[in-house]
Symmetry: C2
Subunit: 193 residues, 2 copies
């Protein structure tokens, strides 16, 4: 399908944290849509880190949008200083959890919400992750690191306890790419034995 | 973890399409965070509809946030007139695709982004879906209905071709709840045979 043509565009909210663009659009079928609001953010990274003991490194954190404490993946904003998504993922993983890995790779680039967001989410898998230091978190972040077995992390993603859609998608794609998701049945059996 | 306390709150952008709230917050640890922006939307529904022929009902649509045409699930805003998420899902499924189902149920309620969004995404599964009418879409939506085998829909979700994180999460949770995801291996073998 053809992209809408944009007849006029302006920013209606623009600061260090949020940028809202208002577009006046014309669809392929000739329908006028104005205004249409687009949220512009830098790209984000989500990290699926599997330790040498085959645990997944998760973080528990209060999230003010939802107003609840949620369990999810180490994640953050890809910064200009990051050479690429894998470098950004390595930085976020280290900052938030103190873990690093010598075996990291990009497995997918997804959209946080194609209707509203211009940016992307890069899903990076880190295998054989190991603890190298205390987390060096921003003091306002107040993050608790939680290790979960692959089976338990998978269950939390599949039964809705892991609430954020990006983290659910990333953990399943990440474990699949790391050949750990196919092992879930065995992990589940081991857990439940 | 304790919710941040909100010392002041106001709307910095508020119209029929988008509502941005600015909060001045104090964290559990006593750190001041101001402003913190929250996106307020009505709840959304994502529908995983499996037809009597065991196909998944998908939609292809241009999405102006991302600026690309994407393949995803029937989805929309839960309206005040909808009795519950299942009723909203049934309405959206019928409007966007012309399909209905006598066997629909809510399988999970997730967060589009716990950091930034106040609303929820309800994941509804529709089994034994069947075509009852032509789609009655809003003319500005320009949606193409696509049927995919369960195996192909799963592959598109797992390999990153289905880009929207909410749809990836919903399709995997939905197929798991409908006992179709565990059948994926068999579906894949059948597809590839």
């Amino acid at each position: 399908m053809k992209a809408w043509s944009v007849k006029a565009s302006s920013y209606v909210l623009e600061n260090d944290w949020i940028k809202v663009r208002s577009d006046d659009c014309l669809t392929e079928g000739g329908h006028e849509i104005k205004p249409f609001f687009v949220l512009e953010y830098s790209d984000w990274v989500n990290v699926v880190a599997i330790t040498r003991d085959r645990d997944v490194v998760l973080v528990r954190q209060y999230r003010h949008g939802l107003g609840e404490t949620t369990l999810g993946l180490p994640a953050g904003v890809l910064e200009k200083a990051d050479a690429d998504p894998v470098a950004g993922a390595a930085r976020e993983l280290l900052e938030e959890t103190g873990y690093c890995s010598d075996d990291m790779r990009l497995v997918a680039t997804l959209s946080p919400n194609a209707a509203t967001h211009s940016n992307r989410i890069h899903v990076v898998v880190a295998r054989d992750a190991y603890l190298v230091q205390e987390p060096t978190q921003d003091p306002t972040e107040e993050i608790e690191v939680v290790l979960a077995t692959i089976g338990d992390a998978t269950r939390q993603a599949l039964d809705g306890r892991m609430m954020q859609v990006a983290h659910v998608a990333a953990i399943i794609l990440g474990l699949t790419a790391a050949d750990a998701f196919t092992a879930t049945g065995r992990e589940l059996q081991r857990d439940e034995a």
